[in-house]
Symmetry: C2
Subunit: 492 residues, 2 copies
Amino acid sequence: MGKELTSREQDYSQWYNDLIIKGSLADYSAVRGCMVIKPYGFALWENMRDVLDKMFKDTGHQNAYFPLFVPKSLFEAEEKNAEGFAKECAVVTHYRLKTDPNNKGKLMVDPEAKLEEELVVRPTSEAIIWNTYKGWIQSYRDLPLLINQWANVVRWEMRTRLFLRTAEFLWQEGHTAHSTAEEAIEETRKMLDVYADFAENWMALPVIKGVKSPNERFAGAEDTYCIEALMQDGKALQAGTSHFLGQNFAKAFDVKFSDKNNKLDYVWATSWGVSTRLIGGLVMAHSDDDGLILPPKIAPTQVVIVPIYKGEEQKLLIDATVHPIIAQLKALNISVKYDDSDNSRPGWKFAEYELKGVPVRVAVGARDLENKVVEVARRDTKEKTTVPVDGIAQYVEQLLAAIQQQMFNKAKSYRDNHITLANTWEEFVNILDTKAGFVSAHWDGTAETEDKIKELAKATIRCIPLDNPLEDGVCILSGKKSTQRVLFARAY
Amino acid sequence: MGKELTSREQDYSQWYNDLIIKGSLADYSAVRGCMVIKPYGFALWENMRDVLDKMFKDTGHQNAYFPLFVPKSLFEAEEKNAEGFAKECAVVTHYRLKTDPNNKGKLMVDPEAKLEEELVVRPTSEAIIWNTYKGWIQSYRDLPLLINQWANVVRWEMRTRLFLRTAEFLWQEGHTAHSTAEEAIEETRKMLDVYADFAENWMALPVIKGVKSPNERFAGAEDTYCIEALMQDGKALQAGTSHFLGQNFAKAFDVKFSDKNNKLDYVWATSWGVSTRLIGGLVMAHSDDDGLILPPKIAPTQVVIVPIYKGEEQKLLIDATVHPIIAQLKALNISVKYDDSDNSRPGWKFAEYELKGVPVRVAVGARDLENKVVEVARRDTKEKTTVPVDGIAQYVEQLLAAIQQQMFNKAKSYRDNHITLANTWEEFVNILDTKAGFVSAHWDGTAETEDKIKELAKATIRCIPLDNPLEDGVCILSGKKSTQRVLFARAY
């Protein structure tokens, strides 16, 4: 009965893969490093996308769509950005296949159809977008330009993981243009707040807002803000980033505007993005050894109802009770599935919906109906309660809210218990090796020390938290003076 | 005042481009044959997508996402499909760029990062999807499999037109798997009906449902059904296709299922798609020399309100009237924009919203308010009416419905008047050269004659209408016997 899952203790990494594959979120594909997002996983992504999309529109952004391909000459225009992504670019060099004369039924690249200029499959769209903005921005009246794009991007990663790191992934990328640095920075921080709001209040995923060290900045950014989450194995996950790009792209693509006094200046830019990687974070933060645990506010199915009966007569009685319950739940905007298929037994169904992380299960047995009750089980705690049919919809509505809150509280409590202070190198390494999680430690502020720590301890600076208190100390590695602690962790 | 537009009579093709560019639907890009869909155009696409997506879900389909890339060996597996698309494939051959040692600040394709197997950027996804379905389908219990994907695809067309034919375009592609041919054919026809419903009842675009001649079939299909629309220049536009794929892809990818009697058989398939091309059809079917005319049911902005005033005091009075009207319209789910910007004069705004095809314009002048009236103008007929403020929201709601209906009626009347019978070759050519539109004529049923007609008259068989009456006759070109008329046209 049910599908065999690896436990977290046995093999955390295999547990994760099992949940993704057996929980029907995604599948491997024939293309190296690329995955197929299955209907259940895609329904989850649609819910996340729709919430984010509304948040973007509510903050004044509009969607648009820019080309998949970036001509090499545009791609290389902003040097740091180009350098940062050059090593992982899929490149289109030809535009035609032809019949292979030496291989019946096979095709080959037509050498005569070589492109004059190679096309990079976008790893991110700053270059193609800023080249377009050049034609759209002349004066301060054209600013701010607040645009978002939902798209697929490709980064040729050598080591891939379902959702967490795939060669092709789906994301949104906001690209805004402003007349002042202050306004662009405000936008950068505003979108970071939107991401944190979404992560905490929809995904039940507590995050730390912070700014990246120069080493970890987005290629081409002046500053990279991020939200960092903690997974159940104590590793950190960067869940979203928002970049203040200064005038780097405006200069690379010569995008100037005339201000109210007719003075020309380069435009200020931001970009910000979250991706299907969030689904990986969601799975790792909440799930258990029996399967996925999905937050009610974004779960594709919030409630599943399973009938338990013998014979057609009992089934009809149960149906007569269940149909009004479904109507009541739907009236409360609760998504519900009535699984009365006779292919499989209730026990198999219970395991299946546990695996898929459906937040609430309602079991309706013929005997229960004599007492006008049903059995309600919550996925997160596995607690079961006998509940009167009368008022069941309101009960479920409140339960869903309680589950959402409890999932957040649990993840937050775990996260808060895994921010540990280290004052010496020995403590630092010891915490990483035994307890894991975030380690708050002094750092001398240099890239050299950061690199050395990464090399020795395999931990990176996840962020310098916003509103970080100043505190005199000495760097855990170099012993040099430091003015504040930063958060280190091993990370995905 | 306003932006200069080419008239249809002057240059139909330039008129179309003017509307797309100046109406802010799309822009050219730096990538050959690819366009940028601007926020206004994308909002239109979002509305169309959302309606279609709901229709797909209401007919039992789920969304999923498959890789952008198709390995060459999979791409060539279904030979006819591969042959049909080989000539227009963008091909990824390398996965890395590196610094060009001979060209400071420039990048070059790294010859050491050549892929072992080339990747085709999907021109359509049958190959990658059927290769995946192989792992998902074992028995009749796994069928039907009803999946849709919203995605970008690339076809390296030599001659491109904004929206109508671009190298990259956005579309949806449904890919379903069935246990019997009958069920697959039923699905093919059902989705054709969905497309026709959407075109007629949402886009106000009358279409003819039919089946393609073998020459015009989708590469790899047993039968291609289509909806064909007529543009204002008398040219036809294929607006959507639905394919019965038989067992071709199941055989190419070895996808078998065991039926209830444990007998193995190949799975039956369909695929169906519509794309951003629909926007081109929408523009060409309805618009006039002053700009776009968008059907109310999918227009990004249904109503624009423009205040006409002198001085702050009048403006405040107008605001006091307009704000409740906005609230009433929103309560009726009508999207409304209040353009009270002081950058431009009312006349300029009128022209701008005419250009953008906003269905209803409400002008509110200080003097009108003394009489508690406003001026309502409909975009399609340009008729203006003075309407009491009291009850204005209901008036506008009815007007939007009337405009939607009138747009359909007008397009249908034009289309119906442009289906002309031809019984001789001379008539046939004469109609195409003078009146244009669809020509209903006898054809002997051979591919040779069809090719010859295309060569001589530049007209193709658009479709054999569904439920086409049988009628004895002789082919307009060959003089051979024919049992039915088919619809010819010159087409986009």
